[in-house]
């Protein structure tokens, strides 16, 4: 396993081989046991909400009320699951696939726009580059929430696209391009310039450069950003609640049924479990690409 780390390190930065003679204090067995205990403790507690969701969505309401930690009782598991999931699905069904689709489209567009913008600002040379970069980067100083009192009437009254998924996505895409550009630009600029030079000599145009060099070379970070956008839109609550009335998203409908007490105990956990399904995909992708955390090297201000 050490080789894996070393290989990756070689890509990022040349690193000296570890000399055998020196023994670090933490490598002692006792220290290792302490370290493992602490990390596993943190791990277990991070699972608390997920654990509650998993066990309680297969329990009857009374069982949840008595002890939320207990495992589902085998004899009632089918009855409880049937009861909880049918109730939960009845609430989520009208908006579930719509929300996933909207989040997917939104994340795709946000990533694409961010990447194109970052590509232009990194690869192209033009006179107003610095000015335009400043124009974008200044927006990072402005919290997105400040614009809502203006944005809501703009979307609802001027554009008349309130209460629609289009009106929901449009400003998010418009606002997200800055963060996307800012993140991706850092990574794009770390790509070797020589690759671009030689490709240009071979007659590659910008489209080819962008799709054949820039994107493949920075796939992890683009994916990271895409996943961030996807779960960002999927998890969005404030903006959705401001702009949607009859159209809802999974988050707004979950909040409203739980806040009103319409759905309780087992059924609410079943609802949380159903709502987690799209994020399982993102978690699996994250596990594959980001476990090493190496993309973080480029994350800085």
């Amino acid at each position: 396993m050490e080789n894996v780390i070393d290989n990756k390190a070689n890509v990022k930065a040349p690193k000296a081989r570890k000399s055998k003679g020196l023994r670090m204090p933490h490598e002692k067995l006792g220290a290792q046991i302490v370290i493992l205990t602490v990390t596993i403790f943190c791990l277990v507690f991070s699972f608390l909400p997920l654990f509650l969701t998993l066990v309680n969505s297969f329990k009857l309401d009374d069982q949840v009320k008595i002890n939320a930690f207990s495992l589902p009782v085998f004899s009632t598991i089918l009855e409880a699951a049937n009861l909880n999931f049918s109730q939960a699905w009845a609430v989520l069904a009208p908006y579930y696939f719509k929300t996933i689709l909207v989040a997917f489209i939104g994340a795709t567009l946000e990533t694409l726009i961010g990447a194109i913008l970052a590509y232009i600002l990194v690869v192209k040379n033009f006179y107003f580059k610095e000015f335009i970069f400043m124009l974008f980067i200044s927006v990072l100083l402005v919290p997105s929430i400040i614009g809502y009192p203006i944005l809501v009437p703009l979307i609802r009254d001027s554009f008349r696209i309130g209460d629609s998924y289009f009106g929901y996505l449009l400003p998010m895409i418009g606002g997200a391009q800055v963060t996307g550009m800012f993140l991706l630009r850092t990574f794009f600029s770390q790509q070797p310039k020589s690759l671009y030079e030689s490709a240009k000599l071979d007659g590659a145009n910008d489209f080819v450069l962008f799709t054949q060099i820039t994107l493949p070379l920075s796939l992890p970070i683009v994916l990271y950003y895409f996943i961030g956008c996807f779960s960002g839109i999927y998890n969005e609550y404030l903006w959705a609640s401001l702009i949607m009335d009859s159209n809802q998203t999974v988050t707004t409908i979950m909040h409203s049924v739980v806040a009103s007490g319409e759905i309780k105990y087992g059924a609410s956990y079943a609802m949380y479990l159903i709502s987690s399904v799209p994020l399982i995909v993102t978690a699996v992708i994250s596990m594959k690409y980001f476990k090493s955390g190496e993309f973080a090297a480029g994350l800085k201000l």
Binding site: L43, N67, P149, S158, L299
Partner: protein, 867 residues
């Protein structure tokens, strides 16, 4: 210097400058047109939009209706709902000021001045405007616009406030119900004919004679006291009906000019009633002190049980009192005043009918005390509510019937007008009313107890019923007397001030918004604040959009033109221009693509940020989307609000702990992961750490809210207290409970881990050789080397913590309000965008100050490194 600049270039620059100047002039004109001229016409329309609409008045023939606010009178076409014209009430003010009559006003000023009533008939040349103080103004009407005339009547100290008004266009009389200073209602009658002939001596014309003897205006006897209140006031050809709050009808006959007494004198009916009153009063005067005494005694004795005691009768020996809510009689012995005679009599209808009765006895006032024997029921009668408690009452001219809702049994009742007229004085309304049992509503529905429970559409002859416990309005067709039908039941979320309708049978109800409900199409159109008809709104936003676009183009053109102008003189500038020109040509696709991004940026970032900061200085609410300067009132309100300072404290509390919890635990956790020797174990832990993130953040917060902190949540299950602890509802725990959410706070370790992974091993070895222990290595090597990541997380946490609205809102905790949550509630619940903008601006200023300092330090490195 000036290499590559030829004379030709100079010539080109000159030509371009002139072309640019022409374009600039053109766009400047367009900007001015859209920015100044069109908005100013809109602005004129939006006069008064600063105030909520107070009343809706139908035009007499249903072709138009008026919405009255404190600042203007908006005239709408009843068929198309289009705004026809606006009469700004400042015109009245201007006229009064020019005449020097402002001092004569009741309040001595026109502050808090409200229009209350408009009377008139469409097609005639005038309307009457009555304001809340009882001042009456005659307005000329040209069919579209209204304009002031010099005919007006100013209420003064001798007259009270006009309360309910009605215009009898048949006889050309304006009847006003006036609440006078003695807390009694009086009817005034004003003859419109004199107005129409344009009498110049307006003062004389309008002066109301309190003795009620002049032909043009008359004051009728006090009818009921302010305590009881008047629900509605209906003038028909024959009678005036006064519907009292809670029940009861007072009828004053009209139009009977043939009354002749035994001496052959012709009497005006109003004078007849007046005389009854005078006689009754004389008789009453003797007993006033006596009554007063017993009333006090009665109220003292029964304070706890019955507050509304009425003196029913006194026969000189004893006083008999009865209660509104309990039909029983208590006898008082005149001789032994201090003791209440415990004998209680069951009150019967006949008892009340046959006894002397007094109406709304008030010891301080000259109360009406009419002996039944004096009353000629042709002219004056009072009907009691009986078993009904009336929430709303209307009169249908077509059916010649009175309709009322009885919220005791939840039925609608109808009474023929003839039956009311014929009924003996003192009769019960419930005896002569017919229950409209064909109109049934769900037993769950309760009629509103307020005055707006019932409305009538005069033109379609339908009733509108409002229910209190459900947001429902039902429409009942009363055209077929044999078979009343519920046409439609509309459900929605609204506050109702006025229920009225037009010929299309639309319901228009007013309070916060004017909403038109089209019962045929089953649609609801929200007309924002009356001044903003959808069409006007669209035009306005379009013109604003065009104005902004043209303004930007003009500014850009100006900048470019100035540059070219300088270039004409200065060779260096010309040279630079040439370079830019070349660059623009070469990178035209780049600029084209960028223009899309920049437009998006301006539309969804800059416009909002600049707009919100600007809006924070204005009144701008959901009901009245108009920018009205308010002298920093939004900020003053916020800064004077003590909860704001509490919320700042909460914000700082969360900020400090968020910063600590988002940096320290993940940093240590990442470091521990680095230290794990067994790379399989470390890899497994890192993989597993992704799994909890599959739960959406909303679900996580809801789990903490109900599953962990809730009444049956695990915290309470663990503690096992008999009474569940309300962690989020208790001010002293709530902040800590929120803070503890997210335990063990290591979720954000990945970026630190990645940073630490990339620290070359030889640093650690060197540290080891220097004898650094594990803690010292962490503090002196790892932490300083991943400072960029720490800064990144620091800034991001800073920004998101201050903006974290979801935590306090979704967990519904008490005492944990933050400025962001206040902003959200101000915007979404109160619809006050101006104040919400002020909150947003304050949050922005705080964040800007904090983040800009940091950015300034970092910007140079980043720019230098990457560009």
């Amino acid at each position: 210097m000036a290499i590559g600049v030829t004379n030709q270039d100079k010539k080109k620059a000159r030509n371009t400058t002139s072309i640019l100047s022409v374009l600039l002039a053109l766009f400047t004109i367009l900007t001015v047109v859209f920015g100044v001229l069109i908005p100013s016409s809109n602005e004129k329309k939006s006069v008064g939009a600063s105030e909520p609409i107070k009343a809706l008045v139908e035009g007499e023939d249903g072709t138009d209706y008026f919405l009255l606010s404190d600042a203007a009178m908006y005239r709408y076409d009843a068929f198309t709902d289009e705004l026809i014209s606006i009469f700004p009430l400042s015109d009245v003010q201007t006229l009064l000021q020019s005449k020097g009559d402002v001092d004569k006003l009741l309040d001595g000023s026109l502050n808090q001045w409200t229009a209350k009533y408009v009377a008139g008939k469409n097609g005639e040349d005038f309307y009457l405007l009555v304001d809340g103080n009882g001042n009456i103004f005659k307005l000329l009407d040209d069919g579209v616009r209204l304009s002031m005339t010099e005919d007006y009547f100013l209420a003064d100290a001798s007259t009270g406030k006009l309360d309910v008004e009605s215009y009898d266009d048949q006889n050309g009389m304006l009847y006003c119900l006036v609440l006078e200073k003695d807390s009694s209602y009086y009817i005034y009658r004003l003859n419109m004919d004199d107005l129409r002939s344009g009498v110049t001596k307006k003062k004389q014309l309008w002066d109301l004679d309190l003795e009620g003897t002049t032909a043009t205006s008359q004051k009728i006897v006090p009818l009921t006291s302010a305590k009881t209140g008047v629900l509605a006031f209906e003038v028909t050809e024959e009678s005036i009906y006064l519907f009292k709050n809670g029940g009861g009808v007072v009828r004053v006959g009209l139009g009977l000019t043939d009354y002749v007494d035994e001496n052959g004198n012709e009497f005006d009916y109003l004078n007849v009633v007046k005389e009854y009153y005078e006689q009754g009063r004389d008789k009453l005067a003797e007993e006033t002190a006596y009554y007063s005494y017993f009333r006090t005694l009665l109220l003292q004795n029964d304070k706890n049980t019955h507050s509304e005691a009425e003196i029913a009768a006194a026969d000189g020996e004893q006083v008999i009192a009865w209660y509104k809510d309990l039909v029983s009689v208590t006898k008082f012995n005149k001789e032994n005043k201090n003791a209440k005679d415990e004998a209680k009599l069951a009150v019967s209808e006949t008892f009340i009918k046959e006894n002397v009765w007094c109406e709304d006895y008030d010891s301080a006032s000259r109360s009406l005390h009419v002996n039944k024997d004096y009353v000629d029921s042709r002219y004056y009668s009072i009907l009691y509510a009986g078993d009904s408690n009336i929430g709303g009452i209307v009169y249908s001219e077509k059916n010649k019937a009175i309709y009322f809702t009885n919220f005791l049994d939840g039925y609608l009742y109808s009474v023929e007008k003839e039956a009311v007229d014929k009924a003996e004085c003192g009769a019960f309304l419930s005896d002569i009313a017919t229950k409209m049992s064909s109109v049934k509503f769900s037993s769950k529905r309760k009629f509103s107890t307020f005055g707006n429970a019932l409305g009538i559409n005069k033109f379609a002859n339908t009733l509108y019923l409002r229910f209190e416990n459900e947001q429902t309005i039902s429409i009942v067709d009363i055209n077929d007397k044999e078979n009343y039908k519920v046409l439609y039941t509309f459900e929605g979320n609204f506050d109702v001030l006025t229920l009225t309708g037009d010929k299309d049978n639309k319901v228009t109800h007013v309070l916060r918004q004017v909403t038109n409900v089209d019962i045929h199409a089953n649609t609801v159109t929200r007309l924002y604040a009356c001044t903003y008809e959808p069409s006007t709104l669209q035009n306005k936003s379009l013109s604003v959009l065009l104005f902004v676009t043209f303004l930007i183009i003009s500014v850009l053109l100006l900048a470019v033109a100035i540059w070219f102008f300088i270039a004409m003189k200065n060779e260096r500038a010309l040279y630079r221009l040439k370079i830019i020109q070349k660059d623009l040509k070469k990178n035209k696709w780049v600029y084209l693509a960028l223009s899309f991004f920049v437009i998006m940026l301006f539309m969804f970032c800059y416009y909002e940020a600049i707009g919100a900061i600007s809006m924070s200085f204005f009144d701008y609410t959901q009901e009245k989307p108009a920018w009205i300067w308010n002298n920093f009132a939004n900020y003053i309100k916020i800064l004077n609000d003590s909860t704001f300072w509490l919320s700042i404290g909460n914000m700082l509390f969360f900020l400090v702990f968020d910063l600590i919890l988002c940096i320290v635990p993940p940093l240590i956790f990442a470091f521990l992961l680095i230290l794990i020797r067994n790379k399989t174990a470390s890899g497994l832990i890192r993989s597993l750490m992704f799994i909890p993130s599959i739960i959406p953040s909303m679900a996580t917060m809801l789990i903490w809210r109900t599953g962990i902190y809730g009444d049956t949540g695990i915290m309470n299950q663990i503690i096992g207290a008999s009474v569940p602890i309300d962690f989020l509802g208790n001010t002293s725990y709530a902040r800590w409970a929120l803070m503890f959410m997210g335990f063990p706070f290591v979720g954000g370790y990945l970026i630190f881990y990645g940073g630490m992974m990339n620290i070359p091993e030889e640093y650690h070895e060197a540290g080891r050789l220097e004898g650094l222990g594990i803690v010292k290595r962490f503090l002196l090597i790892d932490v300083p080397l991943i400072m960029p990541q720490i800064k990144y997380i620091f800034i991001m946490t800073f920004i998101s913590s201050v903006q974290n609205y979801a935590r306090t809102y979704i967990l519904a905790s008490t005492g944990t309000t933050t400025p962001v949550e206040s902003m959200y509630t101000t915007m979404m619940i109160h619809g006050d965008y101006g104040k919400a903008s002020a909150y947003a601006t304050l949050i922005f200023l705080f964040l800007f100050a904090a983040v800009a300092t940091n950015f300034k330090m970092q910007k140079k490195e980043t720019m230098g490194e990457d560009l």
